[in-house]
Point group: none
Chain length 218, copies 4
DNA sequence: AATGAATGAGCCTTCATTCAT
DNA sequence: GATGAATGAAGGCTCATTCAT
């Protein structure tokens, strides 16, 4: 893990440092010297390796997201023919893990949220690349649960109900009530995914029941 | 007193301009000259009327929130003894209205979200003043629906499930799928509140059923 | 002492406030709103009554100096035919009084010193008007003590030796050693004038003796 | 290291420029662009090299004083066992030199005076470091001349009489009477130190004689 | 290739002064 | 005459970026 002359390691070092600092301070409040100092590198290195602060940010975002996806794949390793209920739970769990993770290069959750509220135009496509597949997967799970007779809006609404429940907790880590805040992360994720799954399955079922009788909304 | 030659209240004008710009760009990317130009005022006016950029921001936040609350009170005018189901629906509707509103001085949703992801220390107390009552109200509604035998975590989880579903849509206005994006706001709020209420009542009921049998979680 | 509508009192009020603030903070660090607030007047009054901050400063200087001269005339009320030794002592005492005074409108000392080190071009002539007569008087006293046979340089040197001794203490009020700092002003002036007179009379005598034998210097 | 393409040390250049400008205009009236233009540098360089205007000022003060002390050491190279009279003269001469010097980085006198009348809190300790030793030295010389039987006030008074005589001329360089103003600096210092030494030795002797009979004052 | 030095553009803020009443 | 509101000019400072090596 020593610095190599070829500059490869140096770049990775910068990326790591940038991820940490961006996640903590947000894009604007982060300065490039801040990043460079954290990476124990020189002031010019951000521009040298990444072209600009903004491009570095895009890179960070991409890496952070990929990393999170790899670490916590949306299906949590389940086989594709698993029951929809289990796949939903796996999905919820993986999303929560990503949102609440804060280990080495695991700031995807924070950065994601930051971006949602305070979008940086440059990286729109990255977000799309990262989020669209996730939403599609979610929608296919929901579809399985709802059956084929529902319209697309219903699908979207249900998918969003689930996703938003998960993402909401990404914001509030640290602002959770004391008894939850102090829980170890894995325990917290377990509890939350238990709750959200239970809550959402019932919600989806209710929607299904209601919609079935009026298949054509719109 | 406080009126200009052209009959416009300069301070109010600045507040409006600031609200718009802050909501669009966030605190850091907004410059005071930006605000002043938008308000067709001079560069010194922000400091003259508000003391500093930061104080203006606090003022904006406060005003935006008050405005939103006044326009869409959390109980939507219901009597306190209304059935919990109806109060829940009213709550959801009012919150959605606030999140999706974007008219005159109605950027509360955007600003709120921006703050959640990219907190500005200065206005913490304002946020607390604004959000805590809302959460309490939500929790009392949920409590009525769940009954008294549930533990606090359960209460919190359910309350958050509801709130997060609503807030999630604040992010995504304009990024909604085309068929929803083009809906008139009131129509969209109606559909969403219908969905979230249905979904959540079922979710809460399921949680109640499950929890009743194991009243002590922890 | 009530405010009159004719504006006369208001002007005096401003002058007094300005004197106090200028003496405490110096020209640059003083702001006109500072002065106006101290005078319980409006922001525009300095410019209205005096034209500009700078002109007010000149006015302050003039008033302060006149005031000091009136309160502590250089001859301390002695008859012109008093012995030169006594006139010297009176001169020293009056100068010290002016330097160490800090009562109502009595900041002449502070302002004088401030000006000496940090000259404000505008008021040069005022200073000349105020100081030249003083120097002349001092020189006439010294001349009497030295006799007529000394050259002008000697005269000047001696006069300055006396004046500088007095003025030096204007700087250091408050930075004097503790045992002196706590003395009541009149007591301090008495001690200092005693010392400076004794010291200077001997000094002048020595100069006289030395010079007499070499009447033509350089 | 620290050299520019044109071979000049930018930091030293700024220090020199700042010294000159500060000495001429005082702290407040000096602007950093003024300094930077004088140093033919860019607007950001003051902050780059010194952190802030204030820190630059402290640096200037320190340098100016050290420089003056090195150039004109208080003992003018005399052996410590030299007669007190000669040491007094050397002290006076060195102090006068410093006050009247105005060559390369030799504005110590001006800056010193400016500080005395218009103190800048930041550099209090620097002043103390610079002035206290000087005062102590002066007092030890005076003590030798007065003998051991005098009280501390007497010591202080005499020391101040000497110091103030010297410093007084720092103010008035250029405002001296014509015949003195045009003298070459070394000649002027010679004349003044001759005078002040003569004057002060006599003054001190007189004080000694008077005090000896009333050793305990106050 | 890689870096420390240096910079210019721009930001927030202050304040003497002016203006409309 | 007198004032509160309003402003333009300028100041110190930050920081992403460029330059010379």
């Amino acid at each position: 893990m020593g610095k190599r002359k070829d500059g490869l390691d140096r770049k990775a070092q910068l990326l790591e440092a940038a991820t940490k600092v961006f996640a903590r301070k947000g894009y604007d409040k982060t300065t490039v010297v801040d990043i460079c100092q954290t990476a124990k590198s020189n002031t010019a290195s951000v521009n040298y390796y990444f072209g600009s602060k903004e491009e570095l940010y895009a890179e960070v975002w991409k890496a952070a997201f990929q990393n999170a996806i790899e670490k916590y794949p949306p299906d949590m390793g389940l086989l594709p023919d698993t029951a929809a209920e289990d796949r939903l739970k796996a999905f919820i769990k993986s999303l929560l893990h990503r949102m609440l993770d804060s280990g080495e290069l695991g700031y995807a959750g924070q950065i994601l949220l930051m971006e949602m509220a305070n979008p940086t135009e440059t990286i729109d496509h990255i977000k799309r690349d990262a989020i669209d597949p996730m939403r599609k997967r979610m929608m296919s799970i929901v579809q399985q649960l709802l059956g084929n007779s529902v319209c697309e809006e219903t699908l979207i609404f249900c998918a969003m109900s689930v996703i938003h429940q998960c993402m909401g907790f990404g914001f509030r880590r640290g602002k959770l009530p004391p008894q939850l805040r102090e829980l170890e992360k894995n325990r917290l994720v377990d509890m939350l995914s238990e709750h959200i799954t239970l809550f959402s399955l019932a919600g989806i079922a209710a929607v299904k029941e209601t919609t079935v009788q009026t298949p054509q909304r719109a």
